[in-house]
């Protein structure tokens, strides 16, 4: 920041900012205003674009469909809106226009694609727009969720956990790092999808995704794609303020619970295991008979009665009655979760100023107890004209959020906890496994309850101020100063757990405080000009960006009272502990330019060049240039194109470009970093006082350079039957070169315990096709319908790797990694042993892959792929009179999932714990036609290591959203002095068809080298909400 102020001052002193303060003269244009409405319903259309043909003058309609701009008589206005046919209007004497649009397809819609806008028909790159009005019908918390199934080529995996950002991948898997696309929210740039948690989705006007070289204008940050979000604004010259209100409420429940054993089945499982092991069955809870006996209360039940020293109650003091079939622990930790939201907005504008103000509140509880997300936010966008040439404006968004995370392992513990144990004992206290034969799982209901006072609060302020000045007709200078400020503070209290078999002896309060600031300053010069058949739209600019953060985590033990009113670090009795501290920043400085040229609206070309300089690299690697080229041909406009044929539109386009990636999990990856470290480097030479030590914490790689993607895209846009049927197809090839990842083979297990360096690991190729089909029509009787279908497919191949050595995925799984990435294969395929059957004792038999007569680790092989054959989305919409309905399906086909949860539920890892109902079909001498191995108390570890038992088909077909709405007839609305009222009922995730046996086939991956591994995921919920949208 100091750097920025320094620069800023420097410019001020030299008067170079004078430009921004320059005076200007008036022009002779008149003010034209009007309203854009749907021709059938008369509903105002918000966000339609109105452009004076042949100029750069254009506006977007406000919340009542109103607009106002400077134009003179004889000018032609082009009006376009997503979902409606384009319209042109020549300005006559009337300066207050009512413009009616008919549903259809638009090619003149203004799409914000970079530092400037383009009309859709002119676009030569791969740019997808989200139909926000449709996407936001579902109760979306994070705007990125709206991309799921609605943008072909974009994979979105939505977590069920409230407050979690969805995981987004654009066109296959190129980088192993952060795969988040760059989000541009008005002027603010971020690749943190959590930033979207701070934005109310109802404030979004437009959301566009740049998938190919079109993103090159964002250079070094563009290789994961760019999502551009434009928020709503007011309109100039509005007749009156427009007020909108929307609200929804509803609730959701867990949608799928994998089967777990009940008490009788659990006891039988224990008996069968012991019989299989050659022993005589006996169990501290189930007796020692020939068949197990279910106890009426827990045998040997106890709990802690006093601490310091920790003392358990003597046998018999406490009791816990068991219940019939036992406890369904998943039921015990899930809940029916309410969701509610209200949003209020007001927009207005007069001759020289306009504004949009909104406030919203959303609360969504999670289906797992003590989880949820809450947000209150205020948004203010405004713009002022100082004369006819100078505009100043701002967007500001203030949000306060609180995320309650519960306990991550609760769902895993619910799968492992013995069903015999009741949730509460006879005194109403939580039960635990302190008694014999109950395994060692923590009571997940108690864990969640004790997390009830934990929070993760975040105050986020972001936005921008901008000023644009029209230097001459067609030439505009714009400066944008955008920034974000985030404070995060969290509290975690680890309470005593007197019921647990390993009770902790002291409670702990842990607090975290983090602040993050970022700013970027962008100066652009934009020139637009039509000369005869030639149209040119050029932009050049410079940009500086800085991201910085600082944080501390402190914990302290020994709280006398477990009451949140005492949860201050000063109230602990132990010595305070600094858990972590960090501080750092990174910067980026860029120069860019782009020229769009079109001839007769028929031939289009774009050239873009950007140079980025990043603080993350050193020397010659600091700076890199990212060029791109694209071209398009609107064949329809050719004279030879037959008019009135079935084919009503044909456009071909192609692009090539280089995109970069420098978003790394380190600010200083090029240098070795050693640190003082209390926990890891200090030593007590005399057994008491402590000497300070240091250790190498991060190995640097001075040669690290940008990761670049070379992206080639060919597209064809077809319109048939008067553009009722559209077909868009794009074919792409993306070669990601010098993929950046941590090299765990360089800093391998035989190295020092430092963080592995970030290296340019190798090259990856993604090749694929994105296809979009749509058909929309309206019958004479007023029945309108719209069907659209999105499908995408990619093929991923690893072209080269450093040292050609295979790379393993996440290392923190029991028994080692289960994925591997290797030259010639796909990224992150599943790697393990191939089970060919069960032997005479019901144990796995593995394939001797290398035919050496011995089965060992060398017989691991490719056992599955996390990559789908294709993913798809289907949207069906219909409306008739006041009714509207939409159905949205999404799915994935042909991918496999590594169901890691089976380690706990299918093997005797925790012998007394629970198992999946799959083990009811376990091998026995009389049940040999099965693939479930024999039950045992002592499992061969290979069985729970990577092998085909864990691989499942991950294909699914899901009814993601179903909505039916009704708009009250105008007569009724008008009587209440309301412009329009729409009410709706909506259902999410009502149906999923899948063979996957886990909670949810939509698996969020840990990283791109460990795709498709299902572990501790938050279960999916299905829910119903009721809502209303009212405009006053």
């Amino acid at each position: 920041m100091i750097q920025f102020i320094h620069c800023f001052k420097w410019h001020l002193q030299r008067g170079s900012l004078l430009l921004m303060l320059l005076a200007f003269c008036a022009s002779g244009y008149a003010q034209v205003s009007g309203t854009i409405v749907d021709d059938k319903s008369g509903e105002p259309l918000i966000g339609a674009s109105i452009l004076v043909q042949g100029t750069s003058t254009g506006v977007i309609s406000g919340v009542t469909g109103e607009f106002s701009l400077d134009a003179k008589q004889g000018d032609v206005l082009k009006i376009s809106y997503i979902g409606y046919a384009d319209k042109t209007v020549t300005i006559g004497a009337e300066t207050n226009l009512l413009i009616r649009l008919t549903e259809g397809l638009s090619f003149d819609e203004i799409v914000v694609v970079g530092y400037a806008s383009q009309t859709r028909g002119d676009i030569t790159g791969s740019v997808a727009s989200v139909d926000m009005s449709e996407a936001l019908k579902a109760p979306v918390v994070n705007a990125a969720e709206a991309l799921q199934g609605r943008v072909t080529g974009v994979t979105v995996v939505v977590s069920g956990r409230p407050g979690d950002a969805p995981k987004i991948n654009v066109r296959g898997f190129g980088t192993s790092n952060n795969t988040n696309p760059l989000y541009i929210i008005d002027g603010v740039q971020t690749d943190d999808p959590n930033a979207l948690n701070n934005l109310s989705t109802s404030d979004i006007q437009q959301m566009n995704v740049l998938k190919d070289a079109a993103a090159a204008i964002y250079g070094a940050r563009a290789s994961n794609g760019v999502v551009i979000i434009t928020t709503k604004g007011g309109g100039y010259n509005m007749a009156r303020p427009e007020i909108a209100f929307s609200a929804f409420t509803g609730s959701s429940n867990i949608s799928n619970v994998p089967g777990l054993l009940n008490t009788q089945q659990h006891a039988d499982m224990i008996w069968q295991s012991q019989l299989n092991d050659g022993g005589t069955p006996e169990h501290p809870q189930y007796g020692n008979g020939s068949t197990p006996l279910l106890p009426s209360s827990i045998q040997g039940y106890t709990r802690v009665v006093s601490y310091a020293p920790t003392t358990f109650a003597p046998a018999g003091q406490f009791s816990a009655a068991t219940n019939g079939n036992g406890t369904n622990w998943v039921d015990a930790i899930t809940q029916s979760a309410p969701v509610s939201s209200v949003n209020f907005s007001i927009a207005n504008g007069e001759k020289n100023g306009k504004y949009y103000l909104s406030a919203g509140y959303l609360k969504r509880d999670g289906i797992i107890q003590q989880t949820g997300f809450e947000r209150g936010n205020v948004k203010m966008n405004s713009e002022f004209k100082l004369g006819n040439k100078l505009k100043v404006g701002e967007h500001i968004n203030v949000a306060f959020t609180n995320t309650k995370l519960g306990v991550n392992e609760a769902i895993e513990n619910a799968s492992r906890m013995t069903p015999l144990l009741p949730v509460l004992d006879d005194d109403g206290e939580y039960t635990g496994v302190a008694g014999p034969g109950l395994s060692n799982t923590r009571n997940p209901a108690a864990q969640l309850y004790r997390s009830r006072n934990d929070y993760n609060k975040r105050l986020s302020i972001f936005g921008d101020v901008y000023m644009s000045y029209q230097i001459i007709e067609g030439l505009t200078a714009k400066t944008v100063l955008a920034g974000g400020f985030n404070t995060f503070n969290s509290r975690y209290f680890t309470a005593l757990d007197p019921e647990h078999g390993e009770p902790i002896s002291t409670n702990t309060l842990a607090e975290q405080n983090q602040t993050a600031y970022n700013w970027n300053w962008t100066n652009t010069l934009n020139y637009q000009k039509s000369i005869g058949d030639h149209y040119i739209n050029a932009i050049g600019g410079v940009e500086a960006l800085k991201d910085q953060g600082k944080g501390t985590g402190i914990s302290r033990q020994g709280y006398l009272f477990e009451d949140p009113n005492f949860y201050l670090l000063s109230n602990g009795s132990g010595a305070p502990n600094i858990d972590y501290v960090y501080s750092g920043y990174n910067t980026l400085f860029s120069i860019f330019g782009s020229v769009n040229y079109s001839f007769q609206d028929k031939y289009f070309a774009t050239v873009t060049l950007r140079q980025d300089e990043s603080s993350r690299f050193i020397g010659d690697n600091k700076r890199d240039i990212f060029p791109s080229l694209s071209a398009g041909w609107d064949v329809t406009k050719e004279a030879f194109f037959p008019q009135g044929s079935v084919l009503s539109r044909l456009k071909l386009k192609g692009s090539w470009g280089q995109l970069g990636n420098q978003t790394l999990p380190a600010n200083n990856p090029t240098v070795n970093i050693s640190n003082l470290n209390e926990a890891l480097a200090n030593y007590s030479f005399n057994g008491s006082s402590i000497s300070t030590g240091a250790l190498l914490s991060q190995v640097g790689n001075p040669d690290l350079k940008w990761e670049t993607s070379v992206s080639t895209n060919f597209g064809i846009e077809l319109g048939l039957l008067n553009n009722k049927l559209i077909i868009n197809a794009e074919f792409y090839n993306i070669d990601t070169k010098d993929l950046i990842t941590r090299d765990f083979s360089l800093i391998s297990s035989t190295a020092i315990d430092a963080g592995a360096p970030l290296v340019n690991l190798g090259d990856i190729r993604n090749r694929g096709v994105d296809l979009e089909l749509g058909y929309a029509d309206k019958t004479a009787g007023g029945f309108g319908y719209d069907i659209s279908f999105y499908v995408s497919r990619y093929k991923n191949e690893v072209i080269s790797l450093i040292n050609d050595a295979p790379v393993a995925g996440r290392q923190d799984l029991r028994n080692g990694a289960v994925t591997r990435t290797e030259v010639g294969g796909e990224m992150s395929y599943f790697y393990g042993r191939n089970i060919t059957g069960l032997d005479d004792n019901g144990r796995f038999v593995y394939e001797d892959v290398n035919n050496d007569g011995v089965v060992n680790d060398d017989d691991r092989t490719n056992i599955g792929s996390p990559h789908p054959d294709f993913t798809y989305g289907i949207n069906l919409k219909a409306n008739y009179k006041g009714f509207d309905a939409s159905v949205f399906f999404t799915g994935s086909q042909g991918n496999e999932i590594y169901n890691y949860n089976k380690v706990f539920t299918d093997f005797g890892l925790f012998f007394n714990g629970n198992r999946s109902t799959r083990v009811l079909d376990a091998w026995t001498p009389t049940n040999t036609d099965t693939d479930v191995p024999a039950l045992t108390g002592s499992y061969p570890l290979e069985e729970a290591s990577a092998n085909t038992y864990f691989i499942e088909d991950g294909s699914y077909f899901r009814l993601k959203n179903l909505q039916v709405g009704y708009t009250l007839p105008d007569a009724i609305s008008e009587r209440a002095n309301i412009q329009s009222v729409r009410i709706y009922i909506q259902g999410s995730n009502l149906l999923t068809i899948t063979n996957y046996s886990g909670y949810d086939p939509e698996v969020i991956s840990y990283d791109n080298l460990s795709l498709g591994v299902d572990r501790q995921i938050y279960p999916l919920s299905k829910g119903i909400t009721f809502g209303t949208n009212i405009r006053f």
Binding site: V671, N682, Y683, F685, S938
Partner: protein, 564 residues
Amino acid sequence: MKKKIFGFMLITSILITACSDEFTTSPAIGALSDEALKNEVGVNLLLTGAYSSLNGVRANSLGNEWGVAPDNWIMDVLSDDAHKGSTDDDQADLKELELMNWATGNGYFYAKWGVVFAGINRANAVISLINSIPDGDFSAQLAEARFLRGHFNFELQKMWGNVPYISDENYTNTEFNQPNSGAIWTEVEADFQYAVDNLPSSQGEIGRPTSWAAKAFLGKTYLYQSKWTEASTLLNDVVDNGPYSLLPDYVDNFRAAGESGPESVFAVQFTADDGQSYNGNIGGALNFPNPGPFGACCGFYQPTQDLLNAYQTGTDGLPLLDTYNQQDVTSDFGIASADAFTPYAGSLDPRSDYTVGRRGIDYNGYGAHPGQDWIRATPQDYSGPYLPKKNVYWDGEEDVNQGTGGWGQQLSGINYYIMRYADVLLMAAEAAAETSDLATALANVNEVRARAKTSSYMQAVDGSGDAANYVVEPYVAFADQDIARKAVRFERRLELGMEGHRLFDLRRWDIAEQVMTDYFANETRTITNFGPKASAYQGIYDIFPIPLSAIDLSGGALTQNPGY
């Protein structure tokens, strides 16, 4: 108009030229650069960091979090000295190790492997740094770093047999993937020899090795290779001329009173610091009775019946070398604390009740061990009725020894002896016995036994005198080399039981398979469900498997040990 355009261009060009170079440089805040370390302060900081890895905690930990324990309690579990403890379900991966269901992916192996290499390379970091500084005398630090590297490589060698050697040149060039083509004894010897030649004979701080410690470690290195003469020479030198002596009281080795005393040759210096005890024994946090007198975590590391049996003595006060398993010291396994139990009345070596916690005998000052009530393992589990003692602090000494971890677990401040003088005496005795110097063997063994005899004995909780019938006497003579060898080996078990050495003794004596097979059979007499749960010991278990993940990450440099 042109002026305005020019003005804009001016801003742009100024932004480009004036700010970009400085603007796009960001320092690593709070970090020490390689350059910043190139001085005495830097060398000492990294050297302390190398010592710190003695405590078993590394950054970016690998595998199972308990597998790193620096006191090698895991290794006792893999021998006939200890059971895993707690319920069978608890730490299932260790259960499978103890029950001889070994697999290359077991997280315990990987954890230990990882922390040993962290230690080797933190020492390499110091050596590499010293080599990069042109001026100054860092010979003292270099000798300490090489001693530490020798120690870590010794650990590596004794566990995995065929191991890669990562030199300081490899470190400097980040060439960490080296082949494991056999033993690295030569390199271990070179480091210890350098330490012998360059370390001072005494140190201001007790936790730093002296040239005497280096001699003892070099002697041990020879011993492990059956280089008896070389071992003898060095170890006898330490015994005859070194500064060490046995503490008067055996138990003081494990209490505050004897910490860092004259018996300590080289120890992991643990301490119970304020807040989280990062310098306490984190890897041993599970090894306290649960439930028990201090309700700590977690009931692991239970001594075996077999070990307790070994402390039986004959009427002559000598151990029952061949017959100790013909009768069991009375076990309360399966007997509730409320039910009557009569402790063993036969004669026992007094070290028994300082090594094995058994019912009816005082437990480190916390009163009589009541049996099952303090044992987390149930009779359905296989871990038996005994409690560990040496790693558990004594009543009244909590202040200096009871550290706390992040979830309230106990991080003991009791030092762990990588080597103490009794070990040196017995190694010298062993080398002597192997070279037929029976007199020296006898003298050394008897010195150890004499201290056991003259130590204070465990007292009965009711104040009635000795807690049991303690009888221990020196050997009169070793009739032949076989008897001497047997006596020395047995004495090691008695003296050093539950100190992490047993497994490696069994291996180097090449008797692991026989001993473990006998042990499974003997142990099952009292813990009836142990035998049926365990698989047979196999010869390949004499060295650990190279961890699967290590092989996968090595880019083809590492090959698996035979048989896995």
